[in-house]
Structure formats: structure tokens, C-alpha cells
């Protein structure tokens, strides 16, 4: 019996030996080279909105539009960590509850039907954000709140909110500095928690946040340079607040044209929102990144295009004799025989529910109104008739 040869392995090696220039063709060799082009096997996204209060509606809408694009392009919820500092969809001031719009005239509802927010409200803190990035979460944290990336994961990190020169404000009470962020990325690199990282920030003076990065394989984009403000796009008169920031608005427009098999690359992303549209000057940083940005596809970070290999070999297994299955069946039946047949109805104290006595109400002292009324009556009585009658009452 000959052992099975791995035909695909030899095919891959021979393809690689013949063609190793990276071109964007759709032929057979192109698919085989897919493995080495990007070097990643899975995608993660960490999307953070750091502002609360109703007038910061646009920051939540920013994060949700990136969330929507990333999901549409294939990254599943289990690989997305979404942190929203406030709940706009169910805010009391939202005239259309359970919706978050990104275009005026309410064209596009980015909240959708199956949004999964992992960190919400006051859980969005600098500490939790850094814990998610570095992986130092308490052992009781569920899987959906963890960033379980490995050394072949491409991670997209998107931050939005109010920021300044070298810091980003969280929840109106604390801030994260660019040094802390750079150190967090360095710890991720030390533990090889990412293969490549794309960092996008949409705040005022956003470029200051990526100035301090020093770990390899990071590409960063920001919506404005140091000293510039990022502006919001358009208000909606019915909702009453600005719906989106300019940079993310045009980013969303760009991403709506991308589909999972698209070949658009990072150079196109750098051109999103030029100064004429954005008023601020978007910036980017690629010196830490090892590949040429022109060869990096948008779907390397925003989508999740899996690499597949055909399974060429199989193990020959012989089916066992029957006794194994019979034993299991008898064992299963023995466990199943119940000791006492219970009917569903008997498990609930229905008699108590239907014929219950009225609930005992605790006695409360008379409240303010009654007290005030009686005080008034007594005062008038004494004023009229004199204090000597007091002894008749007390």
C-alpha cells in the first residue's frame, strides 16, 4: 500500500519556483501564489467609539458604518470586537428608535438587524481597550470580548471620538496617549498577536496618535494632521445632530464599492477624502509596513478572504464490528429510564398562583400630603380656639 503523495505540495512548490512576481492575474498560478502574497490566514477588527452623549451621535455612526462594511465583506461577528461608549439607537432623544443613520434623509441605517456590541456604555474605558489589545483580560471574560488573534492575523483597528495632540478622549473623563498606544502595539508584536495591523483614526489632530508607533508591520491612516480639526459632515434636521464625520463618510462611500473579490489596493484608500472634500488633510504612515502599499488589497484588512487547499489525501479506515454500537445503545437506554414520571403541570405550584391570598402590603407612615393637610387643620383649630384645648387632643 503506497503512502499518499501530496500532489498539491509539489504543485505549490513548482508554481512558486516558476512564478514569483506578484501580479494581479486570475489564472491558476495566481491562486496558488495567494498563500505567499499576504501571509495571513484570518482577519480581526477592533472598532471603538469613545464618546458619549447624544450630540456625539456621529462617532457612533462612524464606528457602525465601518462595522457594517467589515461584516459585509466577510469578517464574522466572532472576529469583531465592537466597543460603543453610548447607546444612540435606544437613546431617549432618538426620534427613530433602534436606528442609527449615516446619510441625511435617513437613507442608510447602519445599525441593522444583527449588530453585536461587545463592550457597551461604561465598559468602554482605556483600561478595557488596552486589555483587549494586549490580551490581559481576567479569566472570566467570554470569548466574544477577547481578541484571539495569532501570528497570522491581520487586524483592523478603528478609533473615533474627540482627540487632541497626542491623546484621545475616552468617555469624557480619561484619555489614552499616543505613547501608551504605541507601547500596547509593541506588546502585541512581542507576543506575535498580529501579522499586519491597519490603524485608522478619525479624530481632531489624529495624525499625532500614530507618530509614536515603533513596531513593525503597522500601517496607519488619520483623518487630520496635527493642528487641524476633523469636521463633521452634515446634520439631519429631523434627528437634530450631525450624522457622520467627513472622513468616515467618504470612507464608507469608498467601501460600499468594494466586494469580497475586489482588487482595490491601499493606494486607493489613501486617496479617500482629499482636502477639497474633507477640509482637513488626511495623513498616512507606511514606513513601518514591509509590503508595498500598492500590493496590499483592501480586503486584506476589511474583508476576510480565506485561503483554501484541496484535501488530496484520506486515511483508510475500516468500519468496526457491530458490538460497539449495540453496547452504546443499551447504555444510553439504561440512563434514560426515569425513576418517576413527572408531568409538566405538577412542577409549577399552580394552585398557589391562582388562589393566592392578596399580597401583604407593608404599612407606611402617611405621606406628605396627608400630614400637611392635618397640620393645617390643627393649626387653624388652635388659632381659632386657643391653645388651652391642646390637652384634649394629646
Amino acid at each position: 500500500m503506497m503512502g499518499s503523495l501530496n500532489i498539491l505540495g509539489i504543485l505549490t512548490v513548482s508554481f512558486v519556483l516558476f512564478h514569483f512576481s506578484v501580479t494581479q492575474t486570475n489564472d491558476v498560478e495566481g491562486r496558488a501564489r495567494q498563500f505567499f502574497r499576504s501571509g495571513h490566514t484570518n482577519n480581526w477588527a477592533v472598532l471603538v467609539c469613545t464618546s458619549r452623549f447624544w450630540f456625539n451621535y456621529r462617532h457612533v455612526a462612524n464606528s457602525l458604518s465601518v462595522y457594517r462594511s467589515v461584516k459585509r465583506l466577510g469578517i464574522p461577528d466572532s472576529h469583531i470586537v465592537l466597543m460603543l461608549a453610548d447607546d444612540m439607537a435606544c437613546n431617549h432623544r432618538n426620534p427613530k428608535p433602534a436606528t442609527v443613520f449615516s446619510h441625511k434623509n435617513m437613507e442608510l441605517n447602519v445599525y441593522g438587524d444583527d449588530v453585536e456590541v461587545d463592550y457597551r456604555g461604561y465598559e468602554v474605558t482605556v483600561e478595557n481597550f488596552l486589555r483587549v489589545l494586549t490580551g490581559r483580560l481576567p479569566p472570566s471574560t467570554p470569548r466574544s470580548k477577547r481578541l484571539l488573534s495569532d501570528d497570522h492575523s491581520n487586524i483592523l483597528i478603528y478609533l473615533t471620538g474627540h482627540g487632541g495632540n497626542g491623546f484621545l478622549k475616552f468617555q469624557d473623563s480619561e484619555e489614552i496617549s499616543n505613547v501608551e498606544l504605541a507601547d500596547a502595539f509593541e506588546q502585541m508584536w512581542q507576543k506575535r498577536r498580529y501579522h499586519e495591523l491597519l490603524f485608522i483614526i478619525d479624530t481632531c489632530q489624529g495624525a499625532s496618535m500614530y507618530e509614536r508607533f515603533y513596531s513593525p508591520n503597522i500601517m496607519a491612516l488619520a483623518s487630520s494632521q496635527v493642528g487641524e480639526d476633523s469636521l463633521s459632515h452634515q446634520p439631519d434636521l429631523a434627528i437634530g445632530v450631525h450624522l457622520m464625520d467627513r472622513y468616515t463618510f467618504y470612507l464608507l462611500e469608498f467601501l460600499e464599492d468594494i466586494h469580497p473579490a475586489s482588487q482595490a489596493n491601499m493606494n486607493d484608500l489613501f486617496k479617500v477624502c482629499p482636502k477639497s472634500q474633507c477640509v482637513s488633510t488626511p495623513g498616512h504612515r507606511t514606513d513601518l509596513f514591509q509590503r508595498d502599499p500598492g500590493s496590499v488589497l483592501i480586503t486584506d484588512f476589511f474583508g476576510s478572504v480565506r485561503k483554501v487547499e484541496i484535501t488530496m489525501e484520506t486515511i483508510d479506515l475500516t468500519a468496526a464490528a457491530e458490538p460497539l454500537l449495540e453496547e452504546k445503545e443499551t447504555r444510553v437506554f439504561a440512563e434514560d429510564s426515569p425513576t418517576q414520571m413527572l408531568s409538566y403541570v405538577d412542577q409549577l405550584p399552580v394552585a398557589e398562583i391562582i388562589h393566592q391570598k392578596p399580597k401583604q402590603k407593608n404599612w407606611h407612615p402617611p405621606d406628605g400630603f396627608i400630614l400637611g393637610l392635618w397640620t393645617l387643620i390643627i393649626l387653624i383649630f388652635f388659632k381659632t380656639y386657643g391653645v388651652k384645648h391642646l390637652k384634649h387632643i394629646f
Partner: protein
Amino acid sequence: MDLEKQRGRNAALAIAAVVVIVGIPLWWRTTETYRAWLPMTQIRELDSLHLCLTVEVEVVFAQGTLAPDHQKKLPLSQVREQDHHVDTETNLKYRYETKYRTATIMEEDALNQPTPAEADTALHILSESACGSVVVYVLPASSNLLAEGVNVFVGLKRTALVTFEQRTGPLQAVLSAIDAEVEPVLQTMSFGHRDIIAALSNRIRLAKLSKESLVDSMRAFKSSPGYEITFSLLNPSPQYHKVQWDIEGAVQQYIQPLLDKMAPVSNFSVDSQILYYAVLGVNPRFDKTASAFTLSADSLAHVINPVEARLGSNAASSNPVLNFLLYVPDPQHSPLIIRDHRGQGVSTNAFHSPRWGGIMVYNVNDMYDKDTASLPVNLNIDMSKVMGVFLAQLRLLLGVHQVRPPKGFEVQGPGNAGVADWELDRLLWSRSVENVATASATITSLSQLLDEIGNIVINDNIAQQVLNAVTAIQAAIAELEAGNLAFALQYSREAILASECAFFDPSLLHLLYFPDDQKFAIYIPLFLPMCVPILLSLLKIVSEVRQKRAEKNAKKD
């Protein structure tokens, strides 16, 4: 001098003395962070990795392979070493300790079986070889135990049968000839240099890796203390097909032996589920020539994502998940065939994705007659065929290396055992090396981090974990050098668990970055109002003393 002034001066001096002698040390001690002691010198030693991997090889000569005068000189042992300098901080040394001896009577009997597989089993009954070792039985060239054109047979249990022509000449020449025959066997059955380099990919630059080992390292999951395996049956049309699968029995029979054998490497938990109305995200095309629906290799990449959203996972653990999906196509799209890059059908009808899992398409259109059957049709899945494919995919994803033996080799397939002992040994070698490399990288980067940031509190439990990790790494390296693979793996597992526990401890969060201006902003309002009067009074005392001295000097003159 007035008494009051004297008193005032003494008071000021006493206060200044208290501030300096009591206050400053007290402030220093109460604001310093607790940092338990860490073995820094030992950690710095871990930075450079010098690994020595020792393999014990036993070469047993059957009758007719050695000339009698050579036989008298046996048993003897030799050691062969290979040095590989990987980079400035990593050095590898491979030692092959070879013992040559003649076969015993019982072994000769065992070799007299009709087929090599039976000879292998009989030999295994006689003696069990240690984990990590290789035993080679040398048969005479005249033996017809091995098939035509085959001169090496690799069995299931760390033994190999090699044919060899008896030759004359000095013993050393004969032994070198045997070594030349044994070398390819060792490359197949024991670790190869490529695998060890791939296991060290954490430490070394990727440029040194060959393309194949890069693909292997991308496909297999990294070493983890536990894995979760989920088997899912996808039935897009339960109104037509009522599909039954005995997954519990199949797992017990086919998968569990492999998982039991791999228990020293990591823990496994297996579960299964059935998903109804789950469709593939891709529309297959109908091919008239094959009269079947086809999925081309290009479209396979888009199949996984829509399905993955519906697969659950265990919320409590953070172990990597391996998903194995079995898809039974609906009658409108049956039969469904997967085509590879060259347009040919794939015999297994399955594909897998690196570090994720595998999908197999199981066609049921020939199990019932479409026109006459009453819907829904009861279908039983042949689990041995399905599990054969899943087992192959599982082996690939867990890192069991694929061997490409040279010409003339016959390698026995693992069958129901799941994995051959020597395949497991190969995995253990690379996992031990990977664990040791990862653990030492973790510990060194942790100590670097703790060194750089003076504000992080180092609790006692972290220090204990670091100490455990360091001792376990040193023990693992020692065991690798001694050739005890099983112990080396155990220690390396302890090392990696302890180092991960220490590195990812929640209390180590670096939230204590204070820019200097913030530090001043905190301390100045506290200390300035207190220090200014003290300083001023001290200055006044000093100036008075100086004045007095000047007066005294003036008086003297």
C-alpha cells in the same frame, strides 16, 4: 540672643530635620510599587538559545547482513553530531547516538512473517522503543519480506526495515555504508532540519524559511494548551433529506484514538451539531459533460464566511477551534463535485482552510431514487469514509508533518490508529522546540517590559510563575539533550503554560504612564506650601549665622 529667637531657630531646624530624616524616606517607601524579585540573570541567559537534540538510533543486524568477523565486534555505539548556526542568538546541534547490535533469536522469528506489516507488529510485541528513538532492522538483500522495488519499509511503531547487501572490508566502511542507508530513514522518521527551523519561526527571520515549511507553519495551528473540535452537519433541505449520522460512535472509534495519542501535546474537547437550512454562499455551476454541479477551486474561498456566522463556539474557553463541516447538497444541486485548479474532480470532494478547519461535500443522490422515493428520505451517512477525510484534515491542521519519502520507500498508512508513532514523534520534536522557543521569547520580553516600565507592580504570583517557567525551560532543554522526548515535551508544556500565565496576568496592565508635567502637577501643590516656609527659615538662619560671624570677625580686628 533672645530665648524666643533661639527657640524659633531650634524649632525650624527640628522641623527641617524631621522632614529630611523621617519625611523623605517615608514618602519614598509609601510611593514605591511592590516589585517581587525576578531571576534576571537567568532570564538574560535564555535570550540565546542553544538547543541540542539527541536521537537514539538502534541499528539491528539480522542474520546474513554482516560478515562473521564483523559480527564479533558488535555491539558498539557511535555518536554523530551536526551543527547548525542559525543566527547570532540561536544554535542547533543534532546528535545521533547510534547503537549497532545483532538481532536476537526472537527478533529473527518475528522477522519471518509473510508481510512487513505483520513483522512490524511482531517486533513491537517484543520490545517497546522509547519516545523519540528510531529502530532500524537491517535485512539481507536476499530477503523477500519487502516488495519489489522497495528497499525500506517504515512501520507504524518507530521501526523500519532496510535491506542491505553484505559486504566485506573494514568494519568502519561497512558502518558508514549502513549510515548512508539509515540517513534517509532518519530524515523521514525523525525530525528534519526544515521542521525545526519552522518551529523556531518566532525567533528567526522568515527569510530563512523555505516556502514549503512556510506553508506548513501557516496551515497548522500554533501550539496551544487545548483545542476544540466541532463537527457540523449542514443540511440545506431537511424537507427532502432526513440525514442521520452516528457522530458519537464515529468520534469514539476513529477520532478518539488519535486524540488519546496526542494527549501529551494538548487537551481536546469534541462536540458536534446539525445545522438545518444552511446553504453554501456560492452558486455551483452545472457542467453538462460531467452531468454534475461543480464548485471551482476559486470559489471555495467564499464558501466559508457565510457559514461561519452560523457556527457557534464554546463561549467559556479561548482555545482555538477546528471546524469540520459535512455538507449534504439539496436535490436541486446534486451531485456536487469540487474541481481543483486544473479542472479535475477531487476524489475526496473536500477542502480545508489553514488554521480553520475543513469542509467535505457528501453526495447522496445515488442513495435513493429521486422519482419513486417518498420524501423526506432517510439517509445514513457512511462515517468511515467521512472520518477518513476529516482525520486527514485534522492531522494536517494539528501539524502532523507530511512526509515525502524518497524512492524505494514504503510507508505504512496509519489506518484506524490515526497517527503512526514516528509521526507523533516528529510532531513532538517540533512542538517541544516551538514551546521552548516561545516560552523563552515570552519570558525575555516580559522581563524587558518590566525593566523598562518602573511603575508596574510585580506581584508574588507573577514572580513565582516566571521562576517556574525558567526552571521548566532549563529542564526541557536538558531533557532534549539527553534524548528523553516525552519528558522534554512535558517540561516544555509546563514552561509555556507558566510563561503565558505570567505574561497575560491581568494585573500587569501598564496604565501608569505619567508624563513628567503631570507628575509635577501632582506633587507641587502638596509639597511646595510645606517646603517654602522651611526653606526660607533655613535660609534666614544661615544668613544670621553668617552675619554673626562677620560681626565677630569685625570685632576681632
